[in-house]
């Protein structure tokens, strides 16, 4: 198991990640951790869910194991499987098992993308039993108090077909994430991309404009992440309009009129 130890250490977050709390989410998450409750984060893309988890893992000093869910993710991808090595069948822990054993934080990103039968394996872990049965080994792992399960999903763009089952939902402490308030978001952009505050504010204004286009055919507006990327390009010497076009306008849409409209906003703001 020394191999697993080393791998776990890679998941430990040494330096403090930058995270600006929007409300009292950090306190709630810490309390949930103390009480052994699982966490559900929901919010639009690029608004800081993953960063929040990193920050939480650092604050709690636990390794963070992130699994990006997809529709082929099977139970054994999470729990583990037998592998053949040199003619022998060797058991290999999956990320979830690894996190339970080590008392780490297991973060299932975009959990609704996973197959329905897969999400069920987290059920016994996510209620007061806090245990993970590994059927193939006949083992029942009981999670240590430090272990925490966190899942995230984006309620914005998934279809009705991909919704969390109520039986899954109702096991979690849920935190709703939105884009931060203008001032806060500007500060985040400032801090992450090192552009000056005035520029950051204008970038945020652009993002706010795109976010109000929901009914005009843009399903999701520019995220904080896009703004930071734009800021980074600008800091690297790219001129502002080009940086905005490359980092904000083009990623948002393929519709030429929508692109022209967002481009107009950029031109109007800077």
């Amino acid at each position: 198991m020394s191999g697993a130890k080393i791998r776990l250490e890679e998941h430990r977050i040494i330096e403090e990640p930058y995270y600006l709390a929007q409300k009292n989410e950090v306190e709630i998450a810490c309390a949930a951790h103390r009480r052994g409750l699982p966490l559900l984060l929901k919010g639009p893309t690029g608004c800081g869910k993953t960063r929040f988890m990193q920050y939480l893992a650092w604050k709690l000093d636990r390794p963070l194991i992130t699994v990006s869910c997809h529709d082929d993710l099977s139970t054994s991808d999470l729990v583990g499987r037998y592998l053949i090595r040199a003619g022998e069948a060797v058991w290999m822990d999956g990320p979830l098992t690894l996190a339970v054993r080590a008392g780490g934080i297991c973060y299932l990103d975009e959990v609704v993308e996973a197959r329905k039968d897969t999400t069920v394996v987290i059920h016994p872990l996510a209620d007061d039993r806090r245990e993970l049965p590994i059927e193939k080994r006949g083992e029942l792992l009981v999670a240590p108090p430090e272990f925490m399960l966190a899942v995230s999903y984006n309620p914005g763009y998934q279809s009705v077909l991909k919704d969390l089952k109520p039986s899954t939902r109702q096991r979690f402490v849920a935190l709703s994430f939105t884009y931060p308030a203008v001032e806060q978001e500007a500060e985040i952009v400032c801090r992450e991309s090192r552009v000056d505050r005035k520029l950051a504010l204008t970038l945020v204004k652009l993002a706010v404009m795109t976010r109000s286009l929901k009914d005009s055919g843009l399903p999701e507006g520019a995220s904080t992440r896009l703004l930071i990327q734009a800021g980074k390009l600008i800091e690297d010497g790219v001129d502002i309009p080009s940086a905005c076009r490359a980092a904000v306008v083009e990623p948002l849409s393929d519709d030429p009129e929508m692109l022209a409209a967002i481009e107009d906003m950029v031109a109007s703001l800077f």
Partner: protein, 770 residues
């Protein structure tokens, strides 16, 4: 071409309603000496216009020789499309005008004048202003620039600058300024110093009464409007610096200084010019009276509001009329035209919109309030009703009796938003909670107060059991649903004929007949086999062996690989077993051609096929709908409902299949479009549209030949764009001639022997979906 030939072709096109001979001659006369190319093009255009409007077609033919002088022949179809669009939007007269103005339009474009049509750029302007404003403003073309707070009216075309990019910029500038007026509160200004004005959402705005109270209302309005434009410009410099910079880089179109006799007009015109050349706020302007300088100073610091402008207007008026008796030497102030981005100040339009909003939102509020009150305990409600009745029978005019919503005693304290709201109806108090209170609060914030009559009518409605605007039961009556309009593709015009086909959905009578029993008996063995076959296709979890990775070890693979290793062969790495889940998530619509030609045994075989198909599909569990289609002319396209996608199958559905019978013609386009819209509403991963037909698309009117084929093809393309796989089963022997073009070579199947269709169809479906 010679006249007889022309006439003959023309008559062929417009048949059956052939105009008088001399009429035709007159129409075609100009084309006698035209080349064959031109005539071809003309005969290409006529069928696109004639069915839409005969009159328009006559006018078109009259004006066409002129048009050909400057419109290249190749561009003509596109221009025809524009003309028809214009006709459909604004009618015949507008279309005639449009045709006449085409020449100047063309010349302008040719000369590099950057004419920009609103229609061309609306698609980008709308999201632009909505994004900037953060709410759903509308854009519309109008004869003047102004806003009624919901819609911004723009000139339908701009050609002020020689470059079209600059004209687009001007459009954006107009939008930005109109938005700025909304944002800085130019229209909702209210001078709190005036106590006697009572704000009433249904009455005039405070501004209206302010202007009329001035000694020179029109000058006051122009002055206010201009000063607010300056303030809006300041606002935009802060909010949209890029736009304002781009604007200041544009060459100034300053109107030559008109020598106005009236000093007031001269003053404003000079100021306008200064605003345009940017000198207004920078230098201490010489021309303006000192009151303006005061105002500019106030503008430079943040927080200047519309009230400041109102004061400035008062001061300007006072300064001008100071020293003059009876208000400016009796001369009438002529009024000036506003700057293009400034637009007009149309207070009446704003008032109308505000009234509408008030009534609309009031109605919504009344409705939810009534629901809320109706949910109250019975005795409380009846108490309320009693006191309401007493009030109405008694002295009704008493103000104090009016139902009101008041804040409870917590009002004004720190947590006003948590305080419960009380509705006092006469002397009965009802506490509003949660969402309802929030709604009431919002309404009052928006409109100042909640009139008592709203509360009264809510109480009344609650007593009647709520909801006068929801009348259940209406939709169930009659087999006929509301008609739906669909566009039709005209290949000559390369555009849609708007709302061309009227589709009505009808129910087939449930016909009690022995047809189904007979069919099931006849195909007894086949049905059993089909059931078995289709059962095998149902959702299965299956293990796939010998995978590179998987959930478990594949022992066979492992043994083999170890044996290989012992034997000194290369080992396989495919040692795992994987669980694959094949979920069938399919929705399918069968469109059955019910044209006249299917009479007799052809129709019967189609029905038999459907019966077998439904048997198979019931086993399979795929969602499916069946519709028949037929009709005559564009105004009567009929869709016969046999089974909706989510409707359970049963005897009724079978009886409806039995009732399928030959009707009229085969107008395929609207049927396909209707099916597309139905399939669009399902969430299945695979969506299929299977058409069963016995021949070409054809209708009684001009829906024939190439037109019909092209429209059908376009409808199928639309279906494909919507993520639907169209497929066709045909028994037409000539099918290969046009089906390749319609569906593509692999997406249709021709069943040679009609009698085999019932057996083939489930097979075809099976192959299609597995």
């Amino acid at each position: 071409m010679k006249l007889p030939e022309l006439t003959k072709r023309f008559n062929q096109i417009v048949a059956p309603d052939i105009p008088n001979e001399w009429d035709v001659e007159e129409m075609l006369e100009p084309y006698l000496d035209q080349s064959d190319d031109v005539c071809q093009t003309i005969f290409w255009c006529i069928p696109a216009i004639w069915p839409i409007s005969n009159g328009l077609c006559r006018d078109f033919l009259k004006i066409l020789p002129e048009l050909l002088g400057f419109v290249p022949l190749a561009q003509l179809p596109a221009r025809v499309g524009e003309i028809l669009d214009c006709y459909e939007m604004q009618g015949l007269r507008a279309a005639q005008q449009f045709m006449r103005s085409m020449e100047s339009r063309y010349q302008e474009r040719g000369n590099g004048s950057g004419l920009v049509l609103l229609g061309e750029v609306e698609g980008r302007l709308l999201p632009f202003i909505r994004g900037v404003a953060g709410r759903d403003l509308m854009i519309a073309g109008g004869n003047a620039v102004f806003t009624d707070t919901e819609t911004i009216f723009l000139p339908p075309e701009l050609a002020i600058y020689p470059k079209s990019a600059d004209n687009i910029l001007l459009y954006k500038l107009i939008l930005a300024f109109q938005w700025a007026f909304l944002e800085i509160g130019s229209f909702t200004v209210f001078d709190s110093a005036e106590q006697d004005f009572k704000s009433d959402p249904e009455g005039p705005l405070w501004l209206t009464s302010f202007f009329s109270s001035c000694s020179d209302p029109i000058f006051a309005r122009d002055c206010y409007s201009f000063l607010e434009t300056v303030r809006a410009a300041r606002f935009l410099e802060r909010e949209l610096p890029g736009l304002m910079r781009a604007w200041s880089a544009l060459p100034r179109i300053v109107a030559p200084p008109v020598q106005e006799a009236d000093p007031r007009a001269t003053l404003l015109l000079e100021l306008q010019a200064e605003l345009l050349n940017g000198s207004l706020l920078q230098i201490q302007s010489q021309s303006s009276p000192t009151v303006f300088n005061d105002y500019w100073r106030r503008l430079t610091c943040e927080g200047a509001s519309a009230v400041d402008t109102v004061h400035a207007v008062r001061e300007v008026l006072a300064a001008i009329f100071d020293g003059k008796e009876d208000g400016g030497s009796g001369e009438e102030y002529p009024g000036i035209s506003p700057l293009i981005f400034q637009g007009e100040l149309r207070l009446t339009a704003i008032e109308a919109v505000r009234r509408q909003q008030f009534l609309r939102q009031g109605e919504e509020l009344v409705h939810s309030l009534a629901l809320y009150l109706a949910a109250l305990p019975q005795e409380k409600l009846s108490q309320l009703l009693r006191s309401e009745e007493e009030k109405q029978s008694g002295a009704s005019g008493l103000e104090s009796d009016v139902s009101m919503i008041m804040d409870s005693e917590f009002a004004g304290t720190v947590d006003e938003h948590q305080a419960p709201l009380l509705v006092t109806i006469n002397n009965e108090e009802v506490e509003l909670s949660g969402e309802m209170a929030e709604e009431v609060r919002k309404f009052r914030e928006e409109f100042g107060h909640l009139p008592g009559r709203f509360v009264s009518s809510a109480v009344g409605r609650a007593g009647e059991g709520v909801a006068p605007d929801v009348q259940p039961g209406n939709e169930q009556g009659g087999a006929l649903q509301a008609a739906i309009c669909y566009d039709e593709w005209d290949y000559r015009r390369l555009g849609f004929r708007k709302n061309w086909c009227v589709v009505t959905v009808k129910d087939l009578p449930d016909l009690k007949s022995g047809f189904i029993r007979q069919t099931l008996g006849k195909y007894h063995g086949v049905v059993n086999r089909l059931r078995h076959q289709f059962e095998m296709m149902r959702t299965t979890d299956r293990f796939v062996r010998r995978q590179r990775d998987g959930d478990d070890i594949d022992l066979d693979g492992l043994v083999e690989s170890l044996a290989d290793a012992r034997a000194g062969l290369a080992q396989s790495d495919r040692l795992y077993i994987k669980l694959l889940r094949d979920e069938r998530d399919i929705a399918v619509i069968f469109l059955v051609d019910m044209s006249n030609s299917t009479a007799g045994w052809v129709g019967n075989t189609i029905k038999e096929s459907l019966v077998l198909m439904t048997e198979a599909l019931e086993v399979l569990g795929d969602r499916y709908g069946i519709y028949g289609f037929s009709g005559m002319r564009r105004t009567r396209c009929e869709i016969y409902h046999i089974k909706d996608i989510d409707e359970p199958s049963g005897d009724v559905v079978r009886q409806r299949i039995g009732a399928i019978g030959p009707r009229e013609y085969t107008r395929m386009g609207p049927a396909i479009r209707h099916a597309t819209s139905l399939l669009g509403k399902t969430d299945a991963r695979v969506r299929l549209l299977i058409t069963l037909t016995d021949g070409k698309p054809e209708d009684y009117d001009d829906y024939k030949g190439e037109y019909a084929i092209e429209d059908t093809r376009h409808a199928l393309l639309e279906a494909k764009t919507a993520g639907i796989h169209p497929f066709c089963i045909t028994i037409d022997h000539q099918a290969h001639d046009y089906m390749d073009h319609l569906y593509g070579p692999v997406n249709y199947i021709f069943v040679n022997d009609v009698r085999r269709l019932p057996l083939r169809m489930p097979e075809i479906y099976r192959v299609l979906t597995s």
